[in-house]
Subunit: 201 residues, 2 copies
DNA sequence: GTTGCATGCAAGCAGGTACTTGCTTAGCTT
DNA sequence: AAGCTAAGCAAGTACCTGCTTGCATGCAAC
């Protein structure tokens, strides 16, 4: 088959899946959206399930997370930048993530496809908090293990729930900064101590 | 109709909906699960949509949140107790919440039904953080507005995502305590200052 | 120019879905 | 005993779903 055809189909399938979930995504609709005959889907992918899974794998977790610096210098700014990017990525995948979680009982592979990027983000973030501690930005007795969890929780909750209950969230423009700041304070980071500590080193 | 019949149907519908979502919940299956003839569903509720919505309203948000004290005395203990209860409630409704969010494009009423308890929880929690500040437990310049958001985010993320990626969470038994402690520190609460402050007052 | 190959097209199959209709049955009220 | 009502039952309608089959078409390689 030609590659553009295959690509068209996968893109359409991913889009429709994010909108309607597995049961709501009909092969007829995918074919029409991809401007392709329905039979072609089955010739290329064999079954609806195989098609959707492939679409999730190839069009699921797209944007690479903004990298966190190896040597922390301005934790609040660095975390804010990272959180801004992560929030955007999560928001873009919101629909697919939700549908995949709902379809877990149908096929446990789906939520794994949709959340495969999250684990990597966790590792990167947790490593960064360890670096913060080693560099003396936060005290050694802090719950640095769970700081990464807390920040990601804030971003996840924001991305998933803001569309259905806007009132309880910080303004969208400030959200990432607020979460970064709160998370840092949760593990004992003091904005003023930072510069002082940094001058000494 | 008899009340037990109506109740059986609604309970079965709520259970099946949480498992399979709107499209995956067939009227046949509901009838069978409720041990009732399928025609009865339509005679009582008129349509599948009306039935499911009624089921979500009556069997959606069940457990009342543990109340937070009017006069804070031991913030960490009180918040931990509250968070423990809230986590349990969220976990019990996890499936229905996820399905309802996925079915939002089908009927925007559904996610509202499923999250109607959350707003109340927010208000209660936010009011408690205000009381904490007024009582001098946390400094006045803190982001107390968003502390409630942060704690609920942690609980929400825990309840929704732990089943699909266990590794990144605190042990289930400690989770509520960890979230409460981190959230308090995020707004400047110092565990040791607490007792001292309390002795003075 | 013939041979493959990818794709389109029309039709259909078997099963499932929400919902309806017409009729029967059982229990309660008066 | 008569009447009302909630519920069961069997059957059916109209439509949708994933998926298949048989055949025609265009294009590119050899």
């Amino acid at each position: 088959m030609s590659i553009p055809t295959r690509e068209q189909i996968l893109a359409a399938a991913a889009r429709l899946y994010a909108e309607h979930g597995f049961r709501g995504t009909t092969t007829r609709a995918v074919a029409e959206a991809a401007d392709v005959n329905e039979v072609t889907l089955f010739r290329i992918f064999g079954s609806k399930e195989a098609l959707i899974l492939e679409a999730m794998r190839t069009h699921g977790v797209a944007a690479e997370a903004h990298a966190l610096p190896d040597v922390p210098q301005d934790p609040e700014a660095e975390l804010t930048a990272w959180a801004t990017q992560a929030r955007k990525t999560l928001l873009a995948q919101r629909s697919m993530i939700i549908q995949a979680m709902g379809d877990a009982e149908l096929n446990p592979e789906m939520p794994k496809c949709a959340s495969q990027g999250a684990e990597a983000a966790y590792d990167a973030l947790r490593a960064y908090f360890v670096r913060l501690r080693d560099a003396g930005f936060v005290p050694g007795d802090a719950d640095a293990r769970f700081a990464a969890n807390l920040l990601i929780a804030a971003l996840f909750h924001d991305a998933m729930s803001r569309p259905v209950m806007t009132a309880v969230f910080p303004p969208a423009a400030e959200a990432a900064a607020v979460y970064a700041r709160l998370t840092l304070r949760a593990v004992g980071f003091e904005p003023r101590a930072r510069r002082a500590r940094h001058r000494v080193s």
